[in-house]
Symmetry: C2
């Protein structure tokens, strides 16, 4: 596809680098911005740049946060004895939206994937292990998508967590379809799978 303007070409090129956006869609979005007032584009460009350059992560749970400690960790009304371990911030958002969970989180930042070259040291596993001693943590829920990489990660974690015999390890209840991504689960299924979580045998 050839464009009559380098400016259009660049905009389409950058937009079509985004996942799921092809060149036709990128052109459609570009022409939409061109028809809308300039404010629409400047707001979008500024929001993206601000998000990317100013974002910070909670020092405790690695959730995205505008402050040093995220609003979940800072909330005294949450159950700080229960930590839900997820791979991704998307999962935090999905579980929060169920309104079924009152504990806190730990965001790994991915799953173990030998194919993509992601090993345990690339994830926030060390901070999970150092977070437990001298804390009020009584239970750790492994809420990791039941994919092959997710299962590998959960297996690795439950091995590591054996060094804390007083901490119960659970996995979210079956109900999430096997091989399914957590974030696509409907709220009822996901909420129930948290409530009916299964305690794991040591």
């Amino acid at each position: 596809m050839e464009f009559p303007s380098k400016l259009i070409e660049n905009a389409v090129g950058e937009l079509s680098k985004l996942p799921g956006i092809g060149r036709k869609t990128a052109l459609r979005l570009t022409l939409h911005l061109l028809k809308a007032d300039t404010e629409t584009t400047s707001s979008l460009a500024e929001a993206l740049a601000k998000m990317r350059f100013e974002i910070t992560y909670c020092r405790t749970c690695h959730n995205i946060s505008d402050t040093e400690e995220c609003s979940i960790c800072a909330n005294k009304l949450r159950d700080h004895g229960t930590v839900c371990v997820v791979s991704d911030i998307r999962d935090v958002i999905a579980i929060e939206n169920t309104g079924q969970y009152q504990g806190v989180y730990h965001v790994l930042g991915g799953v173990i994937s030998p194919i993509e070259g992601i090993g345990p040291s690339d994830l926030h596993i060390d901070t999970l292990l150092t977070r437990i001693p001298d804390s009020e943590i009584k239970e750790i829920i492994l809420a990791i998508s039941p994919t092959m990489e997710g299962d590998t990660t959960a297996f690795f974690l439950s091995r590591k967590l054996r060094e804390f015999p007083d901490v119960h390890i659970s996995t979210i209840a079956r109900g999430i379809p096997m091989g399914g991504e957590l974030e696509y689960a409907d709220e009822i299924t996901l909420g129930r799978s948290i409530v009916e979580r299964q305690r794991q045998a040591k």
Copy 2:
């Protein structure tokens, strides 16, 4: 959907204003940008802002252009005796991609739509009419999507063009499905519909 960060919330909010992008997709795009290096976001934000604020239009045909005269109008090898009238810059791109058309263009900037409050004076019809006298224009092809609004626009134009009895008026050949949008036509159909255009009776 609640977000743990105002920065994320703003980015998702701005992205989901784009046509065809819901909040789930917007979140996915935002988290993709967050995982990618900062360069990815700054390039995208800059390309969009630059495109929106620096874009100019060809003074002759209203095609998008980085210069006062677009590359098609400036090309001496094109047939300046044939003008293809389209509603939108998307249509110029689509027709150019067929490689079947050697003439020049005139971009109306929309179609007559009483429902959306778009009348003839909101389109670049006046510049089309002033462009004809003392020019080498021999034929005007009305390449407007055969929708109700498109047909109304074509009818209005062919009436106006009666004041130039020496200029032939054609419409693109049948082949574009009725009610179909020009830009979705495959290249072969669209290319043939230009070559086999139908001269309109006066």
